[in-house]
Symmetry: C3
């Protein structure tokens, strides 16, 4: 029989393309659900966020990822979004749309099917510290 | 008991990175399905399309998103795709592969778990007006 | 009744943004599962991989896609990842995080709901040939 177990996790970020490893929180939600085979759907609430996977090491997480996004959608450009709303986070919205705020990862034997050097990350593209919420929904068989 | 309710929505676009808010159509499919807890899988049929989320406001939707994609994969470049097929939409294909044509959003209490300023969008990257179809599949418990 | 059928597919790549059409392997897993209505969740194991869709033709697959990624995250840049680990694949990690390693496609009448010119692709961004594994999980009703 298929079960659905919906949770949410909450945490604080520094903004400015702060990258947070949320793998352990997801794994805990899976364990709590008792589900052994199925998948977990993650969804980041907010239009300046991203979800993806990465090898979570300081070079990529502290420098390289931010520099890539700074080339694609620089923070300092006078976006129409900023002019219209007196805001300063147009780049954050663009990065979010490009990266995606949804992620589905299979679960086998009660474990995420990640590679050894592959972690699940939340990226906060906004230009200030934020409190964030990610929906974690485990679906499958116990 | 888990139910699956598969629909499709159809609409016309202007092409050229036209961004359409499809949130209300998705919400209606969820309501029609009667499913209260689960998720909705969206899939855009066609290789010059994209699905993502955004704060749907004129600055981002009318200008900023198009300018970001124009930097990443400009429409006017003489792509191999265009030379091979006498086509002009190589950029549209590249933008689609990068953006993704699939999106999964959790459903709780019969509602999408979107943020207040977070809408679901279809992007038509093609270089001409098109008729489009998105598969909307709701899965979960009533 | 909802069924879950979890498989994996394995194959070799050349690395260096090698793009492989895995559509037929996914379709075979769906057929083997006997599931007629539902969806298939794909997940690429490894932090230098990507999953997406494309019109699988030589112009895009052999040239255009690689050139787009070479603009976004060039292979030859001295990334912090490379300096820290004596590695040379920082660009591969960045491309993977941006592209995504997860994909969900609906299944109707036992078939993927792809467009006529829309195939499912695995991209190996790493800088050397690799053996790869993709989880293929079919979920739905028979």
């Amino acid at each position: 029989m298929t079960n659905i177990s919906s949770h949410s996790i909450e945490f604080s970020t520094n903004g400015n393309t702060h990258i947070i490893d949320i793998t352990h929180k997801i794994q805990k939600a899976i364990k709590d659900s008792g589900i052994k085979e199925g998948n977990v759907t993650l969804f980041a609430i907010g239009s300046t966020t991203g979800l993806s996977t990465i090898e979570y090491e300081p070079g990529l997480v502290g420098t390289d990822v931010a520099e890539m996004y700074q080339k694609i959608a620089p923070y300092s450009v006078p976006y129409e979004h900023n002019k219209t709303w007196g805001d300063d986070n147009g780049a954050a919205h663009l990065r979010s749309t490009l990266t995606g705020s949804s992620l589905v990862v299979p679960v086998l034997d009660g474990e995420l099917t990640l590679g050894t050097w592959q972690q699940i990350i939340f990226i906060d593209f906004d230009t200030r510290p934020r409190s964030r919420k990610v929906i974690v929904q485990v679906l499958g068989e116990k």
